[in-house]
């Protein structure tokens, strides 16, 4: 019996640690896209966040500073994107791709001295009595701090977008930048902030990969999670609550991979590695075929450049 509980706890932990980087990055990208900016560079920002966080944690010995560095690095990458697309009106799709190519190279260059080193994983919460409860204790009260942060940040973003005036302004800019500009809102300024927030969250998601999920650095370690986070935003039809469901669905696929092997099914590991990518294609198809739903929920100005005449 206690073995079963231990197994359930282990499974829950695996799902949560796998879902958290996706949830963090997707929450940030959601805000960016709600303001009308499509930043396809999530993968690159996550990678740079991952190595910045890891290198800082190793050098300073502090995982807190590591997290801060990951956030700052992600925001720094997003700043490049913002200057190019918002100030210089560059094509957002192409700039996002450039950001990913650049981030892949930059993280590999910085990370070349950090391969094969382990870092102390993020400390887990420990509350007296509560954390020691069977089953619910370790799942609810024994996680690392960023898992709680991912929930709080998502809730904060949902509150911000739908319950505050600033959130309303951001959404109006995403839906009609011309109208928002005419009323006097600062379209470009708001989009800068939304893009930087998206980058910071991607950096945080990347830092979670290298400081908690792995915890180590290897080249290209995010393995497409940035792209999956982008797909999650579409899957969630730009709604925060559905983002949570999507991220945990993908966390669940991760554990499925482990269990299929544990059950002794004779499936080559490469096919199991394909699962999240194939699942991403599948959910995109399921959501996108309902065109009306996408049109109703997608920010109307997503990906369109804004030039303030006059």
């Amino acid at each position: 019996m206690s073995g079963d509980i231990a197994q359930i706890v282990a499974a829950a932990l695996t799902v949560m640690t796998a879902a958290t980087p996706l949830l963090l990055a997707a929450t940030g990208e959601l805000v960016t896209e709600k303001s009308g900016v499509l930043n396809l560079g999530v993968e690159g920002m996550m990678l740079v966040g991952a190595i910045a966080g890891f290198a800082t944690a190793i050098t300073t010995g502090s995982s807190t500073l590591g997290i801060v560095a990951g956030v700052a690095a992600g925001a720094g990458m997003a700043l490049i994107f913002a200057v190019l697309t918002l100030t210089f009106l560059a094509n957002q799709v192409a700039t996002g791709l450039a950001l990913t190519i650049f981030g892949t190279g930059l993280s590999a260059l910085i990370g070349s001295g950090y391969v094969g080193i382990a870092v102390k994983p993020l400390p887990r919460l420990h509350l007296p009595v509560l954390s020691d409860l069977p089953l619910v204790g370790p799942i609810l009260f024994g996680q690392d701090v960023l898992i709680y942060a991912s929930f709080l940040l998502l809730a904060a973003v949902a509150y911000f977008l739908y319950r505050t005036h600033a959130g309303l302004v951001l959404r109006s800019i995403g839906d009609s930048h011309e109208a928002a500009h005419a009323i006097g809102y600062r379209v470009i300024g708001v989009r800068y902030l939304a893009t930087l927030f998206g980058g910071a969250m991607s950096g945080l998601g990347g830092a979670y990969m290298s400081l908690a999920y792995s915890p180590s650095w290897s080249e290209g370690m995010t393995a497409g999670r940035g792209w999956i986070a982008l797909a999650l935003v579409v899957f969630a039809t730009w709604r925060p609550a559905r983002l949570l469901a999507g991220a945990y669905l993908f966390g669940g696929i991760n554990i499925l991979q482990l269990y299929i092997q544990a059950w002794g099914w004779e499936i080559p590991s490469q096919f199991l590695t394909m699962l999240p990518y194939l699942a991403t294609v599948l959910v995109l198809v399921l959501i996108s075929r309902d065109q009306t739903r996408i049109r109703l929920n997608a920010p109307a100005c997503l990906g369109k450049p804004f030039y303030a005449a006059g």
Partner: protein, 360 residues
């Protein structure tokens, strides 16, 4: 001083071609700063990276060997990008072309037939097309973004390649290395110039540049692609089908990527291994933009980006720099290019000057 952009009202023909040149110069300047930051002598490093690869006797052929896959892929992508069809999964289509053509070479391992290599070329094209047909189908039938689906399929293709070379296609005498048997003579891309690695793919890439130019400038479908991309509404009223543009762009890009993959494994690599591409499918995206989405421009851009690969290899050996520097330069080049492209449609003015103008 804040900068302000002022619409020109029309495209500046000067900056269409001036922008890539300016972007290249800015990239070189940035490269010098990065080398200095890495503690290297900037002048010597720039020389090693961008000039030294061109000085050896085999320089020109090697440059063409590296440029061939980039040019083949980028010509296809250029036509698609013009129609706003964002196939960014060329890397996966390249891999499938290599698998389809390479699989044929392994299946008919003892064949000496002169038909084997042409059959492999056809298989490479079909493999790449088949892989690109998936995002085309999902986009036209279910409206799923081809950006995300084509990219996801790249990861799937990579796993398929690894599965095959560690599993069913592994060389039984390969000491357990994850690689297939070396292709036989009849399954190898014919060599064009003795003593170099210049293979048939280089010639094919040049032919594709010519054909691509004809398709883009002279054919109806080329015209339709441009209209679909630049004025989707006009295209709809004119009865140009968006579905057709999507299918054409993806199949063309996929087929050429697959052919590029086949030439690479049947030429310079000579077998199937997990490392059949140093990111050609992604770099080709930069080549397409740097080449102004025009086949002839793509040829020049392909040679320039090929130089960054050669320079990266040289810097790795001579300066002990990680290979990743190549991708940093490639990313920076695209950043600068995208920023400089603003000059095509806008003038950059200092804010104080426009205030004066407004007052007057």
């Amino acid at each position: 001083m804040r900068i302000r952009l002022e619409p020109r009202g029309q495209r500046s023909p000067f900056w269409v071609y001036g922008s890539p040149v300016l972007a290249l110069l800015l990239t070189l300047a940035t490269a010098a700063i990065i080398f200095t930051a890495l503690g290297k002598d900037p002048v010597a490093s720039l020389y090693t990276f961008f000039v030294a690869p061109l000085t050896s006797s085999t320089a020109a052929p090697e440059l063409f060997v590296k440029a061939a896959p980039l040019v083949l892929i980028a010509v296809g992508l250029s036509l698609g990008f013009r129609a706003n069809v964002w196939n960014i999964g060329a890397e996966g289509q390249y891999t499938l072309g290599a698998l389809a053509g390479g699989g044929l070479a392994l299946a008919f391992y003892d064949s000496t037939s002169p038909l084997l290599f042409p059959a492999m070329m056809a298989a490479g094209i079909i493999g790449g097309m088949a892989w690109a047909a998936i995002p085309a189908f999902l986009r036209t039938r279910f409206n799923a973004s081809e950006i995300l689906t084509s990219l996801m399929l790249t990861y799937v293709a990579q796993q398929l390649l690894i599965y095959l070379v560690v599993g069913p296609w592994k060389d039984p005498e390969g000491y357990g290395f994850p690689q297939s048997r070396l292709f036989q003579e009849a399954a190898t891309a014919p060599n064009l110039i003795a003593g170099t690695r210049t293979h048939l793919g280089v010639l094919v890439a040049l032919i594709v540049v010519g054909l691509g130019w004809i398709v883009m400038a002279k054919s109806l479908i080329g015209f339709q692609l441009r209209v679909v991309g630049q004025a989707p509404r006009a295209a709809r009223y004119a009865g140009f089908s968006e579905r057709r543009a999507i299918w054409f762009s993806l199949l063309l890009g996929g087929g050429l990527s697959g052919l590029a993959g086949l030439f690479e494994v049947a030429g310079p690599v000579g077998q199937l291994t997990p490392q059949i591409s140093p990111g050609y499918g992604f770099t080709a995206i930069i080549v397409a933009f740097l080449g102004r989405l025009h086949p002839v421009g793509v040829l020049f851009a392909g040679l320039i980006l090929a130089l960054t690969y050669l320079g990266g290899e040289k810097a790795q050996i001579d300066l002990g720099m990680p290979n990743a520097v190549t991708f940093i330069f490639q990313g920076i080049l695209l950043f600068y290019l995208l920023a400089c492209d603003v000059l095509i449609l806008y003038r950059v003015r200092g804010a104080h000057r426009s205030i004066v103008e407004r007052a007057a």
